[in-house]
Symmetry: C2
Subunit: 190 residues, 2 copies
DNA sequence: TTCTTTAATGAATAATTATTCATTTAAGTT
DNA sequence: AACTTAAATGAATAATTATTCATTAAAGAA
């Protein structure tokens, strides 16, 4: 009995991400994905029941990777500013290094592909970040403002910064990151 | 001789924007647009040579409307902070009131539809904003940092704020806007 | 080695979507 | 009113894309 090739799923994901980055969601087809992944079109249907499921699976995978990266090296026992900067930097770096995923996820939000379940799970994603900002308020590091507004502010600056860095085709230097962090921190700080 | 109906172009644009907001770029078809606009599919091809041109026209229209809104009521003779707040508020309000356009434009950036010309023109869009931020630096209102980083920071916070307000389904209150402006200003100020 | 099972293939089919075109309709001109 | 011209229509066609399926290939079990 022949066994399924575990590497194939990842090949398909990589192929799909590459295509989305180039042409957007509206530009990817099952045959293009198969070709890019180096497999036959029919093989896609062994690993995914259809295009919708392929996209939802990939989205979930991206969301998971994204989420997992955020709190890497975060130590709640350390001072708040240090921890906040760690998370802030994790988010920025993840988005720079995984720009394809970011583009894909952005495009999916307004697509006919994502199902209810995928959508719902995604909303829960921000909860740990929410708690982090709350901690900042509790410790009087941050202004006593609506947590969602603060969180949105922080996230927005990162998202746009990454997009801009990407399209201007110059890598963000370490000093740029410091600058961006300072802007964010100064905005939020008490 | 029958004359072209000038209202039709706008009807088509409205229809397309509505559909994009619901289903994304990947979800709109020429027949769906026609149906939504209340005209026959063939009629679309009288006003636009094909789907690509339709989308590029709509994109240009949206970009123009967006750009025109930014400096409404801006008076360079008034103090910087006042002028900056005017522009900041204009951008925020435009994006709230024209959320469909915003979604459409976002989706277009990574689509196979936008042509070179449309892309290029779009990049020039931010120039007046760039100059505004430069003025802030010259008057020592803003930190002496890279103008692009400052601009990106400002824009990012607005973009994300609007998205969030929309998806959380609660209208931004006047106080929320004040809060958001303060966060932005405090981040950028000297 | 032979058998069995499932992965893999890619051409064929089904479904969807863009585009065309013969025909009709409406508006302006003579 | 009769004529002319271009808009409008929507069914038909072309093009593209998703999905299936008969067939082959590969890997483990007997």
């Amino acid at each position: 009995m022949k066994l399924r090739d575990d590497k194939k799923t990842q090949q398909v994901f990589d192929a799909a991400l590459g295509l989305v980055k180039e042409k957007g969601l509206a530009g990817i087809t099952m045959s293009a994905i198969a070709k890019e992944a180096g497999i036959a079109t029919g093989t896609l249907y062994i690993y995914f029941t259809n295009k919708e499921e392929l996209i939802n699976s990939l989205f979930s995978e991206c969301r998971k990777a994204s989420l997992e990266s955020y709190f890497r090296n975060y130590d709640a026992a350390r001072p708040f500013k240090e921890g906040f900067k760690t998370v802030w930097t994790n988010i920025l770096k993840f988005r720079i290094e995984n720009f394809e995923e970011v583009v894909f996820m952005d495009q999916c939000y307004h697509s006919p592909f994502l199902n209810e379940c995928t959508m719902k799970l995604t909303k829960q994603m921000k909860y740990p970040l929410f708690k982090l900002v709350e901690r900042g308020k509790e410790e009087n590091a941050f202004k006593q403002l609506d947590t969602f507004l603060l969180l949105t502010f922080m996230i927005g600056a990162i998202h746009e910064g990454v997009k801009n860095a990407h399209y201007s085709r110059k890598a963000l230097k370490k000093t740029d990151m410091e600058t961006m962090f300072t802007l964010c921190w100064d905005g939020m700080k008490q």
